[in-house]
C-alpha cells in the first residue's frame, strides 16, 4: 500500500478498506490443477467406456456381463468426477479473474487518492469536508476522496458478485448425487466369486 509522499490533509476518521484479501494467483494455480484432474478423469472415462463396450467374443459369459457392468459404473463415476472437476476449475478461474479486476479497481482508487489523501494500513482516510467550493486546499482532496469511494464501491460490488458466483459453484456440488457405484467382482460364470 502506497503512502502519500507529501503531507496529507487532515484525516477526519472516516476510511475505506482497500485491501483485497483473496490471492488470485493461487486461485488460478488451483484452477489449473482442477482442469488437469478433469482431463485425467475424462481420459479414464473414455478408456472405461471402451472397456464397457467389450465384445462378447472378447470376454463372454457372466464374467463378461459383470465386467461390462462394472466398467459402465466406473465410466459414470469418472464422468461425474470429471464434470465436477471441470465445473470447479472454470468457477475458480472465473473467481480468480474477478478478484484480479477487483484488485485493479482498488489499485486505481489508491493511485487516485495517494496525492491528496492519507493512505496506509490498507485504508484510505477521508479529509475534512471543505466549507465551500472556494476552499482550494480541501476541495481537491474531497474530490479525490469521493472518487476513491466510488471506485471502492465498484470494487466491493464486483468482489461480492464474484464471491457469490463462486459460492454458487461450490454449493451446487453439495446436491450432486454422491452415490458411488458398487464394484462387482468378476465371477467365473456363477461358480467363483
Amino acid at each position: 500500500m502506497r503512502r502519500v509522499a507529501s503531507e496529507p490533509l487532515t484525516a477526519v476518521g472516516k476510511s475505506i478498506d482497500v485491501e483485497v484479501r483473496p490471492d488470485p494467483t493461487s486461485c488460478s494455480l488451483t484452477a489449473t490443477q482442477l482442469a488437469t484432474l478433469a482431463e485425467a478423469c475424462e481420459r479414464s472415462q473414455a478408456m472405461l467406456s471402451s472397456h464397457a463396450r467389450m465384445e462378447e467374443e472378447q470376454l463372454g459369459g457372466l464374467s463378461g456381463i459383470v465386467y461390462r457392468h462394472s466398467s459402465t459404473l466406473l465410466t459414470q463415476a469418472a464422468e461425474r468426477t470429471g464434470r465436477r472437476s471441470r465445473r470447479l476449475a472454470e468457477g475458480l478461474a472465473a473467481y480468480a479473474q474477478g478478484i484480479t479486476e477487483v484488485q485493479r479497481l482498488m489499485d486505481d482508487a489508491v493511485a487516485g487518492a495517494s496525492p491528496y489523501l492519507m493512505v496506509g494500513g490498507g485504508r484510505i482516510w477521508s479529509p475534512a469536508e471543505p466549507a465551500g467550493p472556494d476552499d482550494t486546499r480541501l476541495t481537491p482532496a474531497w474530490t479525490a476522496w469521493r472518487d476513491a469511494v466510488d471506485r471502492w464501491r465498484a470494487a466491493r460490488a464486483l468482489e461480492e458478485e464474484t464471491s457469490q458466483a463462486w459460492l454458487r459453484v461450490v454449493d451446487r456440488g453439495v446436491v450432486i448425487d454422491e452415490v458411488e457405484p458398487p464394484l462387482l467382482d468378476l465371477p467365473l460364470d456363477g461358480t467363483v466369486r
Binding site: 483485497v20 484479501r21 483473496p22 490471492d23 493461487s26 486461485c27 494455480l29 488451483t30 490443477q33 482442477l34 488437469t36 484432474l37 482431463e39 485425467a40 478423469c41 481420459r43 479414464s44 478408456m47 472397456h51 467389450m54 462378447e56 467374443e57 472378447q58 470376454l59 463372454g60 459369459g61 464374467s63 463378461g64 465386467y67 462394472s70 466398467s71 466406473l74 463415476a77 469418472a78 468426477t81 465436477r84 472437476s85 470447479l88 475458480l92 473467481y95 480468480a96 478478484i99 464471491s163 463462486w166 459460492l167 461450490v170 456440488g173 454422491e178 458411488e180 457405484p181 464394484l183 462387482l184 467382482d185 468378476l186 467365473l188 460364470d189 456363477g190 461358480t191 467363483v192
Partner: protein
C-alpha cells in the same frame, strides 16, 4: 504382441454343465494395465493446493478436499477392478486344465505380478 487370444474355454465345475465363454486374454491384460495407469494418474492429479480465497478459503478448501477424496475413491475403484481382473485370470487358470494351459502361456506376465 497381440496373441491370437480368443479362446473358447470350458470351466469346471460348470464346465460339466457345458458352459462356454470366450476370453481375449491379451486384451484383458491391456485393460488391467490401463486401469492401473489411470488410477495412478487420477491419484496424482487429485492433489490440489487449496488457494487463498480470502473469506472463502475455508469453504473452498472443504470443497477441494471433498473432490480429492472422491477422485481418490475413483482411483481405488479402478485398482479394484484391475485386481478383480487379475484374480479372475488366476482363478480361471486354476479351474481348468486346458484353459489354464492357455492362460499360462498367454498371461504368464500378468499372473506373475
Amino acid at each position: 504382441m497381440r496373441v491370437s487370444a480368443t479362446y473358447d474355454a470350458v470351466h469346471s465345475p460348470v464346465m460339466t454343465m457345458g458352459m462356454t465363454i470366450a476370453v481375449d486374454v491379451d486384451l484383458l491384460r491391456q485393460h488391467r494395465l490401463g486401469l492401473l495407469a489411470e488410477a495412478d494418474e487420477i491419484e496424482r492429479r487429485a492433489c490440489l493446493d487449496p488457494p487463498d480465497a480470502g473469506a472463502l478459503t475455508g469453504v473452498t478448501a472443504d470443497t477441494l478436499e471433498h473432490l480429492s477424496s472422491r477422485a481418490g475413491r475413483l482411483a481405488a475403484h479402478l485398482r479394484e477392478l484391475a485386481d478383480a481382473l487379475d484374480r479372475w485370470l488366476s482363478v480361471a487358470h486354476a479351474s481348468d486344465g486346458e484353459v489354464g494351459l492357455g492362460l499360462d502361456l498367454l498371461t504368464s506376465g500378468v499372473l506373475a505380478l
